[in-house]
Symmetry: C2
């Protein structure tokens, strides 16, 4: 049996191998993805993001176990920033996620954040496609930290949960981190700690202002989605059902409000990510891997040229050559 | 007088206008940059990054005032994630930085993080070039949050200070955020709070292991830089002198260890950033702004094609056309 046949028959070892193959961008990975994509299977993709230490792994753990108990098949992608020690996934999270490994209808995969952020979004999306092809119903994408990576990775998800804790500081930090625009649901984890009520109220009042600003600045026929703030305590399971209910409501909202637009959005984002990654790789290979570049650097150091003129000159000559 | 002449004569209004011109990538911005770059003025660029709420703005404030008191000219770039309200810079930081605005030898500029992270690194670098051309001695680049943006922005700086607080959680979070590899100096701010000693010791022991790992994996003739952990209390100025002393030591280390390599590194990074941004803009304009894309999305939705095959097809036809 070929590896794709084993994949199609539900072999988890084949699944893991195909994910590695795709993640490492090995020769022919696009053909594998094209074949899997053409199967037409789709899962609901939920992103969970927020500051380090907010308890995202514990939340993902709880949600995955609860969905699995309901008979759903759950794929988990944990996007870890690279560590100089492990070269990727983290021991701490691994330990916390250990509980998931034993279950036949849960599959956990860590991804490192080496390389460009655009590339990470593209490969996260591709791992989603592989998991979808394998038959998972729900994909949970956990991203650590707050920054461009999270925004990019969030863009490949259908619903985005932004996780906070009472210690996250003033709610204004929520806006600072640029997460306000990507959050479909706010989760206030560790909500049994002091200050939880205050930060929830603050967030809700900010959301209220935000809603008013959008209402005046946009003309939309669709009713606006009202971003809820759901308190949880991941360590003891409090609020997990409510959190998932909010995700399900958002899913329903998306599919009812504009089903065609929803599908087009995903197809477009899949295509654009692939296209930009392809272009980026081609450009890097041909533009940056040459003696031209070394000579240009020499000229800049000698003061014979500046980087702006040299960049344009190199780009123009690349275009002529291809 | 032309705006560049006013810029050259030390007119701060002209400086602000040229920064906006460059940041907005208006027609001809590369010529302006090329002209400024050819003046050959260089400043020392120091990046300060770390999690939200670590007190980076207060630190930058203290450092800028202290350097200004020593007669140095200081440019400050605050990279803020976009907010839906202000469309960029943040009220809170603005207020805290207000103290700097009155001084003739300090110039503060906020930049929004809209757009791709690569683009942000490129435009931050370009604003550095403008500030250098204006005659600043030191440029402080403050980035909020932890993530790819910070890593990219750090890449345009000569020394990088990573700021922590005792509440940052276990020191292992330091590795999680991928900051270990870019930190030249660790600053433990709010070091009068409980847990400061413990997290400092933890960080130092991690740095020690890290150093050993690198010592065995690399062959280098240069002595390794030993990343210090400097405790500060930005609100009352404690440790600011020690923090700056550490930055100065790192500066000395860089220029003594490999002066030619240091200049080549900066020229290369300036060139590569410009080149990739140029290529990215050209590609986005020609690849993404067409009816081809819409038609490709249609075909994907209908199941007639997949995004991987379509991406390659669109890219190949773009190459043939140009």
């Amino acid at each position: 049996m070929s590896i794709l046949e084993r994949f199609a028959s539900g072999d988890r070892v084949a699944l893991a191998k195909i994910i590695s193959f795709v993640e490492d961008r090995r020769e022919g990975y696009e053909n594998v993805l094209a074949q899997i994509y053409s199967g037409g299977k789709i899962a609901y993709r939920v992103g969970l993001t927020g500051p380090p230490g907010a308890g995202k792994s514990s939340l993902v753990n709880r949600i995955a176990v609860s969905l699995s108990d309901q008979g759903l098949r759950v794929g988990v992608i944990a996007v870890d920033p690279s560590s100089p020690f492990s070269g990727g996934a983290l021991l701490g999270d691994r330990v916390r996620m250990q509980a998931l490994y034993g279950r036949p209808n849960i599959f956990v995969r860590s991804m490192a954040t080496r390389g460009s952020s655009g590339g990470l979004a593209a490969s996260t999306k591709d791992v989603c496609v592989v998991l979808e092809g394998f038959g998972f119903d729900i994909i949970l994408v956990e991203t650590v930290g707050v920054g461009q990576i999270e925004l990019d990775v969030a863009s490949v998800c259908d619903s985005v949960v932004v996780v906070f804790v009472p210690e996250s500081g003033d709610a204004i930090q929520a806006m600072k981190s640029g997460l306000m625009e990507i959050a479909n649901i706010f989760c206030l984890n560790k909500s049994d700690r002091p200050g939880a009520e205050r930060i929830k109220a603050e967030l809700e009042s900010i959301l209220d202002v935000y809603k008013q600003v959008r209402a005046t600045s946009r003309k939309r026929s669709l009713p606006e989605w009202e971003t809820p703030v759901v308190p949880t305590v991941a360590t003891n399971g409090t609020g997990i059902a409510e959190l998932w209910a909010a995700v399900s409501q958002h899913r329903q909202y998306r599919s009812q409000a504009d089903p065609a637009g929803y599908r087009a959005d995903r197809a477009r984002s899949d295509l654009v990510l692939s296209l930009l990654e392809l272009a980026h790789i081609q450009l890097e290979q041909t533009l940056l891997d040459t003696q031209h570049l070394d000579r240009a650097v020499e000229q800049i150091i000698c003061g014979q040229a500046d980087p702006y003129t040299m960049a344009r000159r190199l780009f123009e000559s690349w275009r002529r050559e291809h």
